[in-house]
Symmetry: C2
Subunit: 215 residues, 2 copies
Amino acid sequence: MDRENRVSITVIRRLPKYYRYLGELLKKGINRISSQELSKLTGFTASQIRQDLNNFGGFGQQGYGYNVEELRNQLGKILGLDRTYKTIIAGAGNLGQAVANYRGFEEAGFKILAMFDKNPKLIGLKIRDIEIKDVDEMENFIRENNIDIGIITTPKESAQDVADIFMRSGIRGIWNFAPADLKVDDKVIIENVHLNESLFTLSYFLKNESDYVRD
Amino acid sequence: MDRENRVSITVIRRLPKYYRYLGELLKKGINRISSQELSKLTGFTASQIRQDLNNFGGFGQQGYGYNVEELRNQLGKILGLDRTYKTIIAGAGNLGQAVANYRGFEEAGFKILAMFDKNPKLIGLKIRDIEIKDVDEMENFIRENNIDIGIITTPKESAQDVADIFMRSGIRGIWNFAPADLKVDDKVIIENVHLNESLFTLSYFLKNESDYVRD
DNA sequence: TAGATTGTTAATCGATTAACAATC
DNA sequence: TAGATTGTTAATCGATTAACAATC
């Protein structure tokens, strides 16, 4: 995809929401939806939804709308959910364990092969069937198993060290839960989950306004 | 704050990042910073930073820049971090426990008074000094303790029920980790942490491009 | 066919960047 | 004072909304 044809990040961040609602519709046995109905569900305008989707192709049909299953499949492909990913978790504390226990990720194709920690009390334990290993083994494990995605759930003090190991062992994507902005090669994709920032945004709106119109 | 003077959500979401970096500078003993230096740290442009801050007042000084401590305090006030909040957690599984164990929230003034679950095996346990109580007691507990913020870390099936209890017992803000869009009164503030959406965004960029310029 | 709804262009709105006078 | 950097206005850029012809 060249620079000219790039779809903006704001569009991309709406796609998972479409994908989620289409999944729910499918479960309910609904197989057809218009941009207007999708607008009611998601809160985005119908016009915006049509614009968003047409960045990737004309998935609809005039006079009919969109086929739920087909649109969901298309969005799945666009989002890269038509394959599986090998992942590991660095940091086997509560947050790491919470991620490891969350079945939704595995269902979506993100397979967790191992967890790593430096705490001897944790090493050797299993979360579901996922073993917690010594962080010293991490680099080799990543290389030998061709890990795609590394998940960082360590304290912020260790986050950059972990990211460095990830980088040199060839990981392509990092899902970072530590409250730090990691420095990595351009080629590595980082997605941050900054819980502090989310909580502080909530407290801003609590303080300032209750009927603020938001995203 | 009336409609005319509202600061846009995109600005608000940048404030916690300024706040975090200012805290780090303060720890290092740096007491002065220019918009240009702050730009290098945060990745936002200097112009944007000055625009953002001037939504709330002129905190800087020509020829000098900003006083780190003062600016941090001002941002703290703006974000509502100059007080404490009483919170509870609904859902005492791994994610709830991870949130309960995260010291950073308490340091920022968010005090967790109790956790609630319906699983008898969990009821009575303590995470740090926080007791897990029966969810049947939740409504009363909220009323009696004037809880400000409710945190939802239940499975998505229970999330709306929890939100309903929160609403009728007078909670003002909800921090929602369940992958669902909750329906609540206009007056209740919701902040979502949609981990699925974050992960899918990562997988989009993994699939489509490695040197994409992002937020 | 008539009605419905898309795909797409044009208009509007809002956010970011650039520029510079004000001023410490 | 001279240099530096803000606060703020103007210009640009991008995203959202509106409108409607195309078409199923």
